[in-house]
């Protein structure tokens, strides 16, 4: 039995596949690909499949990964080849590697957030206010959480979770690149960050697009 890391895109309409649905789709994709999955040996055997860091709904990415356990006998190249033509639209597999880093080592993720405004002036205004907010450490993120059984909104000061950020205005569009805390603890969803900006700036973009650039371990060491 070997554990392999499968790298794939999640683009276009595929960004609307929730994590739970993605797991089911991937299990089926592996079966279609004819890859001999290793099954757990319990009462109800099931394949082993985990995602080091699930992607939020509505976010596109060109570097997603999942770990699966496969029976011995296939090389990484063969596994990669068997996925060809077996994936749904927007979910192509582009590489299969050994898992070098452990999922626990993930510390941050970088995103590109594209916001469209009615005009250039508003976009610039929004960018300026955002920069000030980050410098002044006054952004607060809101996350849905649970206290016992009760549903509550948790407020998280974002200053410790924003590493680098950059704002560029191109016409009526603002492109923000930001690296946020990620991983098992302290995962900040990019939409939480964007909503915090909206609330602080008192402005709402016409639409927002999210794209994940990559995952990092310590500093800007790429997760692989």
């Amino acid at each position: 039995m070997q554990c392999v890391r499968v790298w794939f895109h999640k683009n276009g309409r595929a960004k609307y596949i929730s994590h739970l649905d993605l797991m089911r789709s991937m299990t089926r994709a592996v079966k279609r690909a004819g890859i001999p999955l290793w099954y757990t040996e319990g009462f109800n055997p099931h394949p082993y499949m985990t995602f080091p860091l699930p992607l939020s709904l509505g976010v596109e990415s060109d570097r997603e990964c999942m770990d699966i356990k496969v029976e011995d006998g296939m090389s990484l190249e063969e596994i990669k080849k068997s996925f060809e033509g077996k994936m749904p639209e927007g979910l192509d597999v582009f590489d299969v590697t050994q898992p070098f880093c452990d999922a626990k080592e993930i510390r941050s993720a970088a995103y590109r957030i594209t916001m469209k405004f009615p005009d250039k002036k508003t976009a610039e205004e929004y960018a300026e206010m955002s920069k000030n907010a980050i410098a002044g450490k006054c952004l607060v993120g809101r996350k849905k959480g649970k206290q016992g059984r009760r549903k509550v909104i948790k407020e998280i000061p974002l200053e410790d979770h924003i590493f680098e950020s950059d704002f560029k205005v191109d016409g009526d569009t603002l492109v923000c690149e930001v690296r946020l805390s990620a991983g098992n603890e302290n995962n900040i969803n990019p939409s939480v960050f964007a909503t915090a900006l909206n609330e602080h700036n008192g402005l709402l973009p016409e639409y927002v697009l999210f794209y994940k650039i990559g995952l990092y371990t310590q500093g800007t060491e790429i997760f692989c």
Partner: protein
Amino acid sequence: MLSPKVENLILSVQKPGRYTGGELNSVIKDKDKVDIRYAFCFPDTYEIGMAHLGMKILYSLINAREDAWCERVFAPWVDMEEKMRENGIPLYALESGDPIGDFDVIGFTLQYELGYTNVLNMLSLAGIPVRSEDRTSLTPLVVAGGSCVCNGEPMADFIDVMLPGEGEEITNVFLDLFKQYKNEGKSKREFLEACSQIEGLYVPSMYDITYKDDGTVEKIEPLGSAPEKVKKSVVRDIDKMFYPEKFVVPFIDVVHDRTTAEIFRGCIRGCRFCQAGFLYRPIREKSATTVDEQCRKIYESSGYEEISLCSLSTSDYTKLDELLDKLLDWTIDEKINISLPSLRADNFSKELVEKLGRVRKSGLTFAAEAGTQRLRDVINKNVTEQEVLESARKAFKSGWTSVKLYFMIGLPTETDEDIAAIAELSQKVVDEYYKNEDRPKGRGVSVNISVASFVPKPFTPFQWERQDTMQELKRKQEYLESCIKTKKIAVGWNDTRISFLEGVLARGDRRLGKVIETAWKKGCTFDSWDDRFDFDKWLEAFEECGVDPAFYANRKREFNEVLPWDHMDYGIPKSFFRRENEKAFRNETTAHCREKCNACGANKLCGGECDAMRQSLVSQKRQS
């Protein structure tokens, strides 16, 4: 592709995966290279519609044509509908994201009567006039198929062409004709007249219905050269019939998300309440090799973890053992579960249970339908109490701890004794569990009984019978509840108001068209959903249209009454149903088709041949 308008709002509705498309095996074509754009509409949510086998078959069949592109459309849930109307987004097809108002053909499948308001709502969301007479050009043409089309009269005002019977062959005939008329620039009227000349196509507007003073139908008159009787379509050889090699694999969790293989069509049983048992006659089986190959192809292109063998009565398949051996050969290694719905309690073998238990245990359901032998004889459900208990015993011996039983209340001739017997039979099933010495220690049994309210349907021996009123059904439900003494038996009911409405629409005539339209205008959609069903609005609609619903549901018809569906020919003459009806009231049963041919006449649909007839001759010869 999704339009930017849709993308903007899609994350603000429940289950966006219902509206995105882009699933594996969905078919994308170049719209400029096809002659016919076909929107296959299912008048319910994505999760329900994606389970429908007929849609999978016709989707692949139409897309196998180079000149046509078939796309899927489902009814958006209330939250999405609201957003679409707010933002001026017309109903679009999932594959292209294009508004279906621009399509050539809009095809609905009418699976149950309570989807009718959704048909109107989907048309209106697409910006298409709901009434056939208000759509004057050839496109978009609105067509419908599915089992409800056997009496599509309540929908006659809205649908241009109906396709009664099986769609695998007639769909291509229809599309060829459509393409020819469209290319020649012919009018809708010309096309409809041409359709009415083709066996298997029904054009409601080519028939004139007159009514008597007492409200019953006086006459159904064909106009122009339309035929007196519209024959349903039948596929003679279902072993060689088109079957998809690929299923669209949804991302989100849908009902019955699995490989489905049809093993036979039709039914030999002749249960007198069952519409499907008569609509799909004569019985025709696929070979085990064909089914095995079809399962394998769909598995390879989908990766589904379950195979379901589909038919009206799985254990009546003569090649079941052969097929299971073939399937188990490869499914065990692939960890694929096989499920057999619609098993009968009287031929459920221990070997079968063992074979199925080898992979994973799924639920077991037995349909007893009625509590006493007398009533089971009336409905011709030829299952004895001993057989039900024997099946339960076998199931418990093989490790099951929960079984489901199906019953009906409101059947013709039913008394309180019959209802009490439902509780007694369920109790006996519970007792069987405790008689089993090998039962798992410390584990109780659960017997779930699902008690449906009987709705008389066209093309059954009970098509003339009155349906119990809501009050009668309610009282029977309460009485049954009082007869159940243990928590080990859990009862599930239907809403009696929904059954009533279903009964009205099932045997209705064209005068219900305006009622359906009025109810829809009042906001009725998704009527089969308990949380959406608004009975008061329906009652208002009946009132405003001056239509008495009880006339359709609770009235016993005379044998000589002209029924609204008398011009539809499903291969079985009224005289057969009448004979069966009279036998029912004498508590007489009718043997199943393989024991003895009862001359229902359906064999004529296939040129006189019938699988069951051949087999019944063989068994008779053996006996002599």
